[in-house]
């Protein structure tokens, strides 16, 4: 398995881990009555900003750990240089991820139009953000294996 494939698998698990743990923590606090996410949209903004911050930090830490473990396992310290094939794969994967997120956004707006509560759009953003990320990394794994 190539470095890029392993990195994408790690990215999928990191995304899942961070999102699920953070969502559970926020939901727990909502249940305890610390804030009301069904009415208070300012809190959603704060929650999203904290989520982005934590997500970036956790990803950097996990990437460092992954690189160290990969170096120990393969005895190859150098990260492969990105060439034209890698760039094309990333481009196509980003396109797929964009499709996933856009369809999620359209579904959320449709939900609003059909009378769903407004806070659902924030939940949909989190869910489809995660799906889009899985689509991105999953597509990259697919293209690395099957060709582009």
């Amino acid at each position: 398995m190539s470095y890029q494939e392993k990195q994408n698998i790690v990215n999928i698990f990191t995304g899942l881990l961070v999102t699920v743990i953070f969502a559970l923590m926020v939901y727990q606090r909502h249940q305890q009555g610390q804030f009301d996410l069904t009415e208070d949209f300012r809190t959603w903004g704060v929650v999203f900003l904290i989520f982005i911050g934590i997500s970036v930090v956790v990803r950097i830490i996990i990437q460092i750990i992954f690189h160290i473990l990969n170096t120990i396992a393969t005895r190859e310290a150098d990260v492969p240089v990105e060439d034209e094939r890698d760039k094309l794969i990333k481009l196509k994967a980003t396109r797929n991820s964009y499709y996933a997120f856009t369809s999620g956004f359209v579904m959320s707006v449709l939900g609003l139009a059909l009378g769903m509560p407004v806070y659902w759009i924030f939940i949909a953003f989190v869910a489809f953000g995660l799906i889009a990320e899985i689509m991105d990394n999953g597509s990259q794994i697919y293209y690395y294996r099957k060709g582009v």
Binding site: S2, Q4, P80, V81, D83, E84, R85, D86, K92, R95, N96, Y99, S139, Y142, Y144, K146, G147, V148
Partner: protein, 86 residues
């Protein structure tokens, strides 16, 4: 079918590739050059050389010319276009 073509970026009826290559033979003729050596010469990863040799990736025109330059041979000696018989 639609989802598959979105993910793969290929139409379902489209053949894999009409471009074949002689890179493996040319490497052998060039003193049994390894994939890694060739990759270093043309500035791509070894995985990209593997993908090109397998026909899983068609390189850019610039990279194709780099191969021809390294092997000191015309481009059509490295890559061959095989049109459909239709």
């Amino acid at each position: 079918m639609a989802l598959r073509s979105i993910i793969t970026g290929r139409e379902s009826e489209m053949p894999k590739s009409n471009i074949q290559n002689n890179i493996r033979r040319l490497r052998f003729n060039a003193g049994e050059m390894t994939q890694q050596e060739l990759a270093d010469l043309v500035h791509v990863s070894r995985q990209t050389i593997v993908a090109i040799e397998k026909g899983n990736y068609s390189p850019s025109l610039e990279l194709a010319f780099r191969f021809a330059h390294i092997f000191k041979t015309p481009l059509e000696e490295v890559f061959i276009y095989k049109p459909d018989d239709k």
